[in-house]
Each structure stands twice: as C-alpha cells, then as structure tokens.
C-alpha cells in the first residue's frame, strides 16, 4: 500500500494540530476497535458517531424481508435474463424452480377445482384458452407479483396435491397457471422424472392426463407457446405471464 506518503502532510506536526490523527488511530476508528473513551479527545465524538452509524441492525431495516424473499422465490436466481446466452446449468436449478412453480400452480388449480382429478382438465382448458383464443384470454392485465403473504403461505408448503384448497391461494392465482406448465415441461425435459420433485411431476402428469402423455403434452405446449424461442431455456416459462418474470430482469449487470 502506498498511502503513507500521501498522508504525510496531514499527519505532520501532531503537537500543534489538535486534530492530528495518526494512521494507527485512524485504522482503529474505522475498524470500530477504538473505544470513545480511549480515543484522542478530538476524536471521541467521531468514535461515537461511527459506532452509531454501525449500530446493530434495527427492526425497520429488516422489515422488507418478507417482500425480498417473495421476490426471490418468484424470480429465482436463474430467472429469465432476456437475450443473455445461458451457460449450461444443472438441471437441479430448473427442477427447484419448477417445484416452486408447481406448488404455486397446484395451489391455484386446486383452489379453482377443489378436486384433484379435475386438475388436468382444468389446466387443459387453461392451456387451450391461452393457446387457442389468445394468450391473454384469462389474463387481461399483467399478473402482479405474488404478495408476501401468498408466497409465504404457498411456497414453503410442499403439500400433497390432494389436500384440498389452500386458503391463501385465491382463484386469481389461477390466471397465470398455464405459464408454469411450460416451466414444468422444461424441467421435465432437463431432468426427466428422476430429478423432478414428486409434486411437480404429479402436477405435470395430471396436466398432461397421465405420465405417458407428458412428451406429447409438452411438445404441444412448446409449439403453441414457444414463439420461436429456443427450447433449451428451462427457466423461461412462457412470456411475461408468470410470477417469474418481472420488470428489471433484462437489465444488464456489468458489475461482475
């Protein structure tokens, strides 16, 4: 380090300058290891101010945690990133993302139908309406990101699909339900059943009308939904409809 010379003029004449500050004291002040009582008189107040600035976290500074976690769950670290070429990622990421989407979509599906066996038909209708009569048939406006309460209630619960409606999952959640199926399909393609979360696989099988129909179902979905996109982008469930796609994702971050 070459800071010493540059500091020379400021560290001169400690006897005459009441604000003189040697580097050792400065380092201790900055590291927070200098008790105000032990600081040079002119720097006791500085030590107190710095200690206050670095005081332990307060509740209000952590108040946004639920929202931050909801955004994280919705977007995920491997969320779609516009035109950026994705490196090969482990299928695990896709499967983890799909598991979250699956739980969300199951919540919506179950809430909408109340009976699991109808889920497949319901999803089929949702897909049909999206593919056939325009993708926004069920979704007049952009889907808002999940609220903290919805996500907190539905994401961590790896509940079995047959348990009945989840109170917090309103029928509105079903609006975007067609989109997660694309994510399920890509996850299925990436990992095949062996890596896939059981709930996610069941949801996909139910949507396809049986495990045997999954390949055909996913192919149909991809064809209707792909818009020419490359199909090796597992984290891109459709286009702007799902909770995984929010503003700001296409921002480039060049800081890395």
């Amino acid at each position: 380090m070459s800071g010493g010379d540059a500091l020379g003029d400021e560290m001169d004449a400690p006897d005459r300058d009441p604000l003189a500050l040697d580097q050792g004291t400065a380092d201790r002040l900055l590291a927070g290891t200098l008790d105000p009582a032990d600081a040079p008189p002119a720097y006791a107040g500085v030590a107190e101010v710095l200690a206050a600035a670095a005081a332990p976290p307060r509740a209000d500074e952590l108040a946004g945690e639920a929202e931050a976690l909801a955004r994280f769950a919705a977007r995920g670290p491997a969320a779609p990133s516009g035109g950026r070429t994705r490196r090969r990622r482990t299928a695990r990421v896709a499967v983890a993302t799909a598991a979250v989407l699956a739980v969300l979509s199951i919540s919506g599906a179950v809430a909408a139908s109340d009976v699991l066996p109808q889920t497949g038909a319901w999803l089929g209708r949702a897909v049909d309406s999206m593919v056939g009569s325009g993708r926004n048939a069920n979704t007049p406006t952009a889907v808002t990101p999940p609220t903290a309460s919805t996500t907190a209630a539905s994401v961590p619960s790896r509940r079995e699909p047959g348990r009945g409606p989840i109170p917090s999952a309103t029928t509105g959640r079903g609006n975007g339900a067609a989109t997660p199926q694309a994510g399920l399909c890509t996850a299925w393609r990436a990992g095949k059943p062996k890596n896939m979360d059981a709930a996610a696989f069941q949801a996909l099988a139910a949507a396809a009308g049986g495990a045997d129909n999954i390949p055909a179902y996913c192919n149909a979905l991809q064809t209707g939904n792909g818009n020419g996109k490359r199909d090796d982008r597992p984290e891109n469930p459709g286009k702007g409809q799902g909770p995984g796609n929010q503003p700001g994702q296409e921002r480039q971050h060049g800081e890395n």
Binding site: M1, A26, G32, P41, R58, V155
Partner: protein, 219 residues
C-alpha cells in the same frame, strides 16, 4: 458472536453468524463465516433460506450506505441492487469480503444511475425518506433513541464530501477493508486511505465546532 442454525430447503443445516452485539461487522471480519460458500451456493440454487441469510446480513448496511449516497431513494435502489445480486449469484466466485465488495459495487452503480436520473428530472421533488415504523420492541423509547442516533450519525456523514462519506461508510458500516473499498469505488488504496483520513478529520472538526469535546481545543 452467536450462531443460529437454520435448515435449508435441501435439509442441510446452514450455520449463520448473528451480528455481534454493539456493531455491524467491523472491517475485515467475515460475518457469515465458514458457511459462506455453502450459503451462496444454496442461494444460487434457489434456496430461500440461504438467500435470507445473505439478505439479512447485508440489507441494513446497504440501506445505510444508500441513505447517504442515494438520499431519498435508499429503499428503491436497494431493491434494484438485490435484483442484480440475485441474477449474478450463480456467477459470483470469491470469499465473503469479495462478495460484500461485489454487492456494494452493484449498489454504487445503481446509486449513480439513480443520481443521473434524478439530475435529469430535477423537477421531480425528492421524496422525503420517512423513518419506518419501528417494530414494537421491549423498550420502544430505547429503540427510538437508537434509531435517532444512527440516523443522526448518517446525517452527519451525509454532510461530508461525498467521496469521503462513501469511503467512511464502506469501511465502518459495511466493514470492507481498504483494498475492497478501493475496488468498489474504483480508486487506489492510497487514495482510499486519504479520503478516510480526511473524512475523519472533517467529522472531528464539525463535531468540535458543534460541541467541543472535554479536553479538546475550542476552535
């Protein structure tokens, strides 16, 4: 320093350090510690618990830093910063100090973006940053005093020349060492030392002018 064990989604316990009493992490002291790589890898794989550890560890310092360098927009700029952090998690390689430096480099760029934007739209009034409601604690009065002390300290730091304030915050509040600060602000370590030194000195001048410390020399 206390340890808290949280169970990750994948079932592996993640040991996370809880901030020591009295201060945010001091310079050079890693706070997530031994489990840091595990936490980052978990978050990059989508583990909410791991991300929560990172968020809790950095968010308070992030807000305090941004209260000074992006006054009036700290919360928004912090959110934007997290968007970028989450996107880049899978590409990050390095230790915890490097991670903090990376996050605050992003925050700094977002703050600069915001400043440029604010400068272009000068007609837009700056939103007044209100103190968030304090969560009801055992002693609300003490919590309020603590808050005011921190806010007052950040106010004082805000009055310093920006480069000095920034370096002091990164050193003291964020806990970065000289080299890490240098990489965040794009300056040489020697320049960072000078800025910190001048900032401390100016702070002492200001405090001395307001209330002469006992034993100090009145200006």
């Amino acid at each position: 320093m206390g340890l808290s064990i949280r169970r990750s989604v994948h079932g592996q316990p993640v040991v996370a350090a809880v901030p020591a009493h009295g201060r945010l992490p001091a310079a050079g002291r890693a706070m997530i510690g031994a489990s840091f790589h595990q936490v980052v890898a978990g978050a990059a794989a989508g583990d909410e618990g791991c991300f929560a550890v990172i968020w809790r560890e950095l968010q308070p310092a992030l807000l305090r830093y941004l209260r000074v360098v992006a006054r009036g927009a700290a919360e928004d700029v912090a959110s934007e910063t997290w968007v970028d952090v989450v996107q880049g998690l899978g590409h990050f390689h390095g230790d915890e100090q490097g991670f903090r430096a990376w996050v605050f480099t992003i925050a700094r760029h977002r703050a600069l973006d915001w400043q440029r934007h604010a400068a272009r739209n000068q007609a837009t009034p700056m939103p007044v940053e209100l103190l968030a409601d304090l969560a009801a604690g055992d002693d609300p009065a003490a919590a309020a005093l603590e808050t005011l002390a921190t806010e007052a300290a950040l106010e004082l730091l805000s009055d310093l020349p920006r480069a000095q304030a920034e370096v002091l915050l990164l050193r003291v509040v964020v806990g970065l060492d000289v080299g890490a600060v240098a990489s965040v602000v794009g300056k040489r370590p020697g320049a960072v030392r000078v800025l910190a030194h001048r900032g401390l000195r100016r702070l002492a001048e200001r405090l001395g002018a307001e209330a002469p410390v006992p034993g100090g020399v009145t200006p």
